[in-house]
Symmetry: C2
Subunit: 291 residues, 2 copies
DNA sequence: CTCGACTGATACCGTGAGGGTATGGATCGG
DNA sequence: CCGATCCATACCCTCACGGTATCAGTCGAG
């Protein structure tokens, strides 16, 4: 069995995602017949049927599901390989750090000063991604270090270090009926409009759909929503909002993550700086959370 | 910047490992000129010099080092994708479990009976690999679950669960001067011939070179070597040998590992069985070890 | 210093894999 | 039964990949 080329996996992923040869071909910028041939050829080569196609629908077989899952990982690894080697080759080196808005738990500026105290430090480029995208950016090489959150983010495949754990609070407008309480329960919030985040199970609450923290805060200020968030977000975004602890909600852990088996000195230095800052921080990290 | 094909990465890895275009070409089964062109083309495409070549030597640039490292991971992921999807497609499904000889801590047979108690269980195929190869087998898809050992194996990129921790003992022939002791120190063993394992730092001891547990045991029985090993190996291999605890040596942890974000039900069932057996085992796992 | 051995790069050519267009065949809705 | 839709097949063409021959450095032996 000879080699499977990148192109073939890209084609397969396109068809598997679109579930339509024509649309996939358009997305790939080729015409439909070569795409059909390529998929058929791939199936013959693997000795496995990947797609069940009728003239009305295209569905994935179990082998196809597996390949879709694994091929995405493989293609991310390919992207990462070229991006990281390109970065290592430029004489303008930089260390890309990814976070979502407010995702650093307020530690980043201290970490940067600590990190940059070493005069040999490579400049940091801070990248701000959408919610829940940090892992993807790390996997495909757009970033080398990132701030992620347990249990929200998928940490598989990364080395991590815990920076701090935070209580979660219910973020409410000042005028809210619960705003004065010392603590609230999840039951208290049962009928409140909790916003829905991208990537969340769509079954849950029927609140408004949101894409970033700013939107949530805006909606809360307008009384259109209520959210349960780590308390640190209040200090950055919630100037006219109040936070009431929710003891039932699991604590959030801010972690720093980097790709498995990274050999980068810059990554190691940055992680060391982050650990130092976290250790000197008032609330020491409680305990390690296995990935 | 368009796509980088698998073939190009395979070619680059060959040259980077051989550090010689001619030898790499032979290994790849092609002639040298196309290989030179492919590498040059890859460099032009990435906009980065990967190799410094004189007519006497080929060396890697920093970008080349990075690409070698990342390309290996990417190619493993490609292999894993095709292997796993092929496995998922066969109507003869099986769950490949990898271990090194004696690497299951004596738990595997119990785990198998526990696992197979579920009549819907997919048959397990037990694969025995060389020492320290479990991670590679998991990464390139030859196995879906494996028994690995902290701190010996590289666990990055896997989900893991601790099964048990073991003291380490000095394995000695009965006639050894230390054989009667209740415990020994590392200092006691300083001048003993400790065998060298593949993948070990070659600086360390000057003992004989070995490839598997059987060889070590043989050498010990002959009085040609002494080894520090987890105590469970004695029950399987050391019928005429004795073990003396070495309190200084860090405990070994037997863990079960599987690829990040596996969606396989069979893997989940096997891990569940392993956890059950480990929990009912006399010596409960002491504590989780972060990857 | 010169010659030969060695190694990577270049020039040139032929073949075949990949992409395009046209069309067939199956399925579903009206 | 007809048209619409969608994937597969047939056929052709281009160019990228691989092969052979050769050039251009570099080092070592004599």
């Amino acid at each position: 069995m000879d080699r499977v080329e990148t192109r073939e996996l890209v084609y397969f992923v396109a068809v598997a995602e679109e579930r339509h040869f024509g649309h996939a071909a358009a997305r790939l910028g080729i015409s439909q017949p070569p795409l059909s041939r390529a998929i058929g050829q791939l199936e013959r080569r693997l000795g496995v049927i990947l797609l069940r196609r009728t003239s009305r629908s295209v569905t994935l077989t179990p082998a196809g599901e597996m390949l879709l899952h694994e091929a995405r990982k493989a293609l991310h690894a390919m992207d990462a390989a070229i991006r990281r080697s390109q970065r290592a080759g430029r004489e303008d080196p930089c260390l890309p750090v990814v976070m979502k808005p407010g995702g650093d738990g307020g530690l980043l500026s201290q970490i940067l000063t600590e990190y940059e105290a070493d005069s040999a430090a490579i400049p940091v480029e801070v990248l701000v991604c959408g919610i829940g995208e940090q892992a993807t950016w790390l996997r495909d090489g757009r970033a080398d270090v990132g701030f992620v959150h347990h249990p929200h983010d998928d940490l598989a495949g990364f080395d991590t270090e815990v920076l701090l754990t935070q209580r979660q609070v219910a973020v409410l407008p000042r005028s809210h009926r619960l705003a004065g309480h010392a603590a609230v329960t999840l039951d208290d919030l049962r009928d409140e409009p909790l916003p829905r985040w991208p990537g969340m199970h769509p079954d849950s609450t029927s609140g408004p759909e949101v894409r970033d923290i700013g939107q949530v805060m805006q909606l809360i200020a307008l009384g259109r929503a209520v959210a349960i968030l780590p308390e640190s977000v209040l200090s950055r975004f919630g100037h006219d909002l109040v936070g009431v602890p929710v003891p039932e909600a699991p604590s959030t852990t801010v972690m720093i993550a980097w790709p498995e088996r990274s050999h980068s000195l810059a990554v190691a230095a940055f992680v060391r700086a982050a650990s130092t800052v976290a250790a000197h921080h008032h609330s020491p990290a409680a305990f390690g959370v296995p990935a």
